[in-house]
């Protein structure tokens, strides 16, 4: 389980972007909704351990991340993947990108083909990423995030660059992964139609404050 406890954060100014955030992420999908500038991306960056909160604790599987030693931090970080709204792909081919998380963990790359097939990018595995469209880049980044089945996946506007057909497919895939036990946090600013079975809660964020949490059984 991941817990955000009394999180406060500001970017080099007195204006807090997040104010006293308390959130538990345990299973299925957690949707974080809010208008642009409400603090969704910052919340995801804190949960993905990229940003250190000014106040408060980020607890991953019972361990307070920022109070842990370097080795424990690296161990915890390996459980979490964050996909940026405009994901960055490393120079090289789609295949090289998909194998990166596996290689740094010393794992076999044989699952790459299975995941690539699910995300419909099997045909472009040998394509250089500089030649991909924005939608294909998004699909590659999503496939790269799920390729080693992490415990937590944090997605910032994952459907932003996708057409309607791919949107539906990606929603289905995310729901599938959630059912397999991956805890997924998704930041969105519009309406997204995930099935209620797959969603654990919807968190409404406005001006850095959680205004409402809707829990699903």
């Amino acid at each position: 389980m991941m817990k955000l406890e009394n999180i406060w954060f500001s970017y080099e100014s007195k204006h807090y972007v997040l104010k006293n955030i308390n959130l538990e992420i345990s299973r299925k999908i957690t949707l974080v909704k809010g208008p642009n500038g409400s603090g969704k991306t910052t919340l995801l960056k804190i949960a993905s351990l990229l940003l250190r909160p000014e106040k408060g604790r980020v607890i991953v599987d019972g361990i307070s991340y920022w109070e842990a030693n370097r080795k424990t931090r690296e161990f915890l970080r390996k459980k979490i993947v964050y996909v940026h709204e405009r994901p960055y792909l490393f120079k090289g081919t789609v295949f090289e990108n998909l194998t990166y998380p596996l290689k740094i963990r010393g794992k076999s790359v044989k699952h790459v083909y299975e995941v690539a097939k699910k995300f419909r990018i099997l045909d472009i595995l040998e394509t250089d990423v500089s030649k991909l469209s924005a939608g294909m880049k998004q699909l590659t980044a999503l496939a790269r995030a799920f390729v080693f089945k992490p415990k937590y996946v944090l997605l910032d506007e994952p459907l932003a660059n996708l057409d309607d057909k791919n949107r539906g497919e990606v929603i289905k895939l995310i729901e599938e992964y959630a059912k397999e036990g991956i805890s997924i946090i998704i930041a969105v600013h519009g309406n997204v139609s995930f099935s209620k079975d797959a969603v654990a809660k919807i968190v409404y964020l406005n001006d850095g404050v959680i205004t409402k949490i809707v829990q699903y059984s």
Binding site: S48, L50, E74, R77, K78, K79, I80, V81, Y82, V83, H84, P87, Y88, F90, K91, Y100, P101, I104, R105, S130, R144, A145, F148, P150
Partner: protein, 218 residues
Amino acid sequence: MNELVYEIITIAIRSFWVSGLAIALATTWSIPISILLTVLKNRVTVFLQDLFNALISLPTVVLGLFLYLILSKSGPLSFLGILYTPLAISIGQSILITPILVSMVTSSFQSLKEEAWETALTLGASEIQASLALIREGLPLLIRAVLAGFNRALGELGVALIVGGNIKGYTRVMTTTIALELAKGNFELAIYLGVLLLISSTAITIAIRSIGVRGVYK
């Protein structure tokens, strides 16, 4: 004529060798420094970055004088016995070009930090693995900085003259030869070497531009 050609070739080879060693030395410490300045963003690293930026314009004669004082017989590093050797020139040039390398590489890495570094971390990389990803992604920009540093080392005079001593057949490089031959009124060798230096510098500048453009826009 043959003697002149032979002299030009040996001086040019020595210049490239000495400045090549300087850039190799400077690169070994400039890359880790740049990674630290990119990753650790605090008051100290901001100050250090400003300091490196300011040191870019350090006059070569001032650095040469400083090195002479510490390498000469009464200096604290006299026991090394490297004053008036090609190694002393290489070390001096490596110090001279370190600020250029650090500034250029840090600014390149900073432009890639949010992309390559953070992406690697969010995929579970350790800080060392993320640093390697940063170097790999920034390689064209890194090569560009190395070439710029090499160009600067090749064309500097103060350090080579003061700590090298301009000894014929040993520490005499292109810039020191030009200065000496001009003083003697022997323009032929000075002009040939000047043209060679200009051609090398232009070729490197074109390479920098071509690599830079590809590195940024690819």
